[in-house]
Symmetry: C2
Subunit: 201 residues, 2 copies
DNA sequence: GTCTATAGAAGGATAGAC
DNA sequence: GTCTATCCTTCTATAGAC
């Protein structure tokens, strides 16, 4: 399947890459159009030939970043070789590691910081990320015979919530930006244990 | 106990109030020193007589906002008239409503957005808010005879996590900025139920 | 489309009088 | 401490040549 995006100009691609890099690293206000042009190795006039304003460039970038940034729950196959606990551990580990990735954090940061001035970003983020992830996990939960879940949507939210604990909170404000693997696994284990005590048959 | 703060000038107070208002509403980059001076009804020179730079004014404001903004778990008395479930419901309701308040959201937004450029903010936020709240709730949990909690610190984090679900996430990115009371109570109820299924004796 | 050069506005910070 | 007036830099955006 050939996308029409293939025909886009290399300069435009360079601009998008540079702007994505800079915006996610420093935020909207701290990045100038000059800096983007320099980073993309392009003149400022070219930049404005492709994007009518800094606002629209920013919105374009964040929206497409949201779409590309689906929570990794799409491939939740039912692995017959794993029991519910092992499966949840694997899923939880993937999700928490995704939450903690620089890029993921940066997008949430941007949307949270700028959603007041760019209201469309909130929806793009929610639909591309959390809503989708919740739907996928809820669907998976319904297929698990060992669980008793009165409301799978709520249970799915709660599983995400159990993963988003102190470690995540600390990382989100710049403390322990690179949590070690053992700490991550400990959070996942605790989440799975609590979740199963609440919902296991 | 008379604070030395009582002797601070009214202009300084006006500046702090105006700057707090503007920064929390619009973020660091979108607020100019001109705007702060105007809002405080003060000249820009006066502003710079009290604060050496925009950076320091911002850091001062956010840090003190973090300190004043303790998670409302300080008054976790052991109410003999309430059982564990009713108590948890009351506590959870207070906490989630606190999380959802404009001011609380705004501070988290600011710290998250600017902690890269102002590293001291991350710690001020974490110590003033989450760390304190977790400690208080953990202490309360140890005093509940009806619960079996292997690690109260982890359980406390998890309770907060169970409250910070979709409703909170949506509010944080500008969707449903004013959740209705019924929705809040539903989240609290679900959190308490799950928590108790996992940790009740 | 792409560049160089620049307009025009706004921002952070300060000088100097009182 | 407080003001008015201003400096200098940086920013968004555009004009005009190719």
């Amino acid at each position: 399947m050939v996308s029409i995006e293939d025909s886009e100009s290399p300069k435009r691609r360079a601009i998008l890459n540079a702007a994505t890099e800079l915006f996610t690293a420093r935020g909207y206000g701290a990045v100038s159009m000059d800096a983007i042009a320099r980073e993309a190795d392009v003149s400022k006039a070219t930049l404005y030939a492709h994007f009518e304003s800094k606002d629209r460039l920013f919105a374009t970038i964040v929206q497409s970043a949201c779409q590309e940034h689906i929570t990794p729950t799409g491939e939740l196959a039912d692995d017959a070789a794993l029991d519910v606990e092992a499966s949840l551990r694997a899923i939880g580990g993937r999700i928490l590691r995704f939450f903690l990735r620089d890029r993921t954090m940066a997008i949430y940061r941007l949307v949270m910081a700028e959603s007041a001035r760019f209201p469309e970003l909130g929806n793009a983020f929610y639909q591309g990320g959390p809503a989708n992830g919740r739907r996928m996990l809820a669907a998976w939960l319904t297929r698990q015979p060992g669980l008793v879940v009165p409301d799978v949507a709520i249970a799915a939210e709660q599983f995400f919530g159990l993963l988003r604990t102190d470690l995540y909170l600390r990382a989100s404000v710049g403390l322990t930006p690179v949590p070690d693997e053992a700490a991550i696994d400990a959070v996942v284990d605790a989440a799975v244990q609590t979740f199963l005590r609440a919902y296991r048959l």
